[in-house]
Assembly symmetry: C2
Homo-oligomer: 476 residues x 2
Amino acid sequence: MSHLQERKPFGQCTPALLASFSTIVGPEHVLTPSTLAADEYARYGRDHTEDLYFQPDVVLRPANADEVSRIMRLCHEYRIPVTPRGAGTGLSGGALPAHGGVVLSTERLNRIIQIDERNLQATVEPGVVNEAFQNAVKEVGLFYPPDPASKGSCFLGGNLAHSSGGPKAVKYGTTRDYVLNLEVVLPTGEIIWTAANTLKNSTGYNLTQLMVGSEGTLGIITKVVFRLLPFPQQNILMLVPFRQEEQAAEAVAAVFRTGIIPSGMEFMEREAIAWSSEYLQIPLTLPDDIRAHLLIELDGQDLDQLYKEAELVYGVLEHYDVGDILLADTATQKDELWRIRRNIGNAVRYNSVYKEEDTVVPRAELPTLLKGVKEIGARYGFKSVCYGHAGDGNLHVNIIRGELTDEQWNVGLRQPISEIFELCVKLGGTISGEHGIGLVQKPYIGIALKETNLALMRGIKQVFDPHGILNPDKIF
Amino acid sequence: MSHLQERKPFGQCTPALLASFSTIVGPEHVLTPSTLAADEYARYGRDHTEDLYFQPDVVLRPANADEVSRIMRLCHEYRIPVTPRGAGTGLSGGALPAHGGVVLSTERLNRIIQIDERNLQATVEPGVVNEAFQNAVKEVGLFYPPDPASKGSCFLGGNLAHSSGGPKAVKYGTTRDYVLNLEVVLPTGEIIWTAANTLKNSTGYNLTQLMVGSEGTLGIITKVVFRLLPFPQQNILMLVPFRQEEQAAEAVAAVFRTGIIPSGMEFMEREAIAWSSEYLQIPLTLPDDIRAHLLIELDGQDLDQLYKEAELVYGVLEHYDVGDILLADTATQKDELWRIRRNIGNAVRYNSVYKEEDTVVPRAELPTLLKGVKEIGARYGFKSVCYGHAGDGNLHVNIIRGELTDEQWNVGLRQPISEIFELCVKLGGTISGEHGIGLVQKPYIGIALKETNLALMRGIKQVFDPHGILNPDKIF
């Protein structure tokens, strides 16, 4: 890509610029270290990635696309780095202002603009919390499936940045599968809609899917049109204990071969479920010989039908060395089981600093991946807690800091993490399923993508962001 | 996009170049007017778009990605335009060699390389016929849903070029929803894989979805990894006659509000079904007062469940002025009904040259679109036959040439077609749902996309194809 320009050095957030920002968003929405308590300001320099911190020069909280556009025009002109930020629940450092400059918070872009019951669609702003959106559409009988573990706090805009999944992705797909159209402010300040509000579209290149998963490097999403589904009224949830981890992983592919597509198929190794139930103080019987669990959910409109499917699932599980299967009886019990699953990350974080690797492989390769991760851990002397969306082949590998030295933690882990990622690629997989590359996986991107792929991506970045100001140096 | 270079004039297919092509693909796979009967050669200059014809300088039939790569390196060096071609069933002129040069036929890239039953995936080449692939995976209990009307002859590569849909798209999505990974030869001759063989991927920009729907302008797909589903073993098919076209269109959105997602929801106005059944010589009772039909299919693994759903659908239909509903009793009857639906395009073509507009709007806006199309037709004095995927809001408007003069046909229709497309956009829709823009919709692209969107697309094209040789001047 010889026509790519060398990037000029970034500009500074001068007092004059700060005054201009103040005119655009109002002085109360221009936050600096001198206007906000230190700990509150520091919040904008962190996310949920390890213990990383970068201080922004200024935090801006625009209220609409027009304000975002005016901010971007200034930043484009003055070469100010801009890092878009949702709720800061990311796990790859994508929202960290690694070059300082502006953090552009979407917290005030938080309206559910329309729920269109005639067309099973909704138009929302990116600062809406995932669960708030789910609940709003559920009230009118509709269903927005993507449900990351952090659904109670994460923003839809962040979900779009990484095409977040969650347990239901196995049946319903990830965030990208629900996006019809996006209003985007480009790094130059221009405002576009990427597509149309239709289920099908064969009108030019797919800018919508190019934006989704681009981790805030190509534009700032200011409105989203989602498609929705009818809400599935019934579900069955079962917790299946296995005496061998790899058998749990093997059973996953076997269930799919019955023709059933579960709405959840979650893998948790012993420590994942033990740490989380303890963290939440939810008592759970965990016999000594149990090494892993599958949490299997079936959903639909008809309970009789689900019981038939559950029988088929039981038929598959009989062939494995399983303990007593717990069939959740009540809504409370279901809620507790899902809370345990969703809080594993929090429980691990409570126990130790950790690095989370978001490995993903074709579903049936999961036992091989799991075995490989443990073998690499044993060889390099680190402990990992593994869990994740087994139905998607998406295994979250949490590497526990424990007693590792700074040197071991910051440098020594590079080689084993590379080996884990190389194993993923060898198995037909890649290095992130739903968390993105951001800052912390960037050193490993070359394992997943060839130089030609990266050159194409850099070329695309250059087309959208000629001065390279938007979330600079993320992904590649 | 000031950094875009002016495109140099295209080069010529000199005898020396033809000799080089011959070395790459073998002399028997270099076709020219002097080596092939005129009518056979002419086939490579046509598709199913109106009666358009462009003669290529040479047709090449490579056997693998390596040969495609070597062809592209030469064409890149000598600035030869290359038009990739599948089965030539396209309806927007995307495969027509409008600048002459090379037609690169994928007819020999026709292997089903692997059907991976463990992972519910398949790896295929782009020259495989859609229906042949469907049948191959069905044999092992798997399901590849996208089924364009031309499924018996169209290639999967062409389906990828436009993200083809078909009747099942309403429940199962279009081609793009089944693509995990693509092997692509870039216009420069480099070979990449766009992603990984995983259900989820958050590793860099989504080059896969950028390729799908790019109508052969960004690269030549040489292998595809598709995800598959378990084959739905049961289905119910009903043909519902309506006494008013718009009521048929209205009933569509009402069915979805019950919570049922049909696997087919097809609209056919009276003449569409009448012409097709006559063309196929399949007798069909068509009372004088019936103006339109919906063909509704429900599918799943459990017949009892489908009958419950059918009762709910009947409950909705009771509120409309419908005739006797035909519930297909046998596989033969189902097959006949689907053949009638699929052959409407052929029946129209048999009756007259026609222009097909692939209009698409949010589902509930279909009655307004249909009414608008008829009103515009009445005002400008042309006849149209309308049918299509009502569940997706995707209405195929066939404008019949009939007695129109050359002037009326070639020039006079531009204004009414523009008005139809403007109506689509006003209703939240766009100008192509699944046929693409290609050559014939290109004059209208500005109705759907703003100049900023087009500039981004041109910039992306420039990144992939710096000399602009691949399917030049299509889309924009």
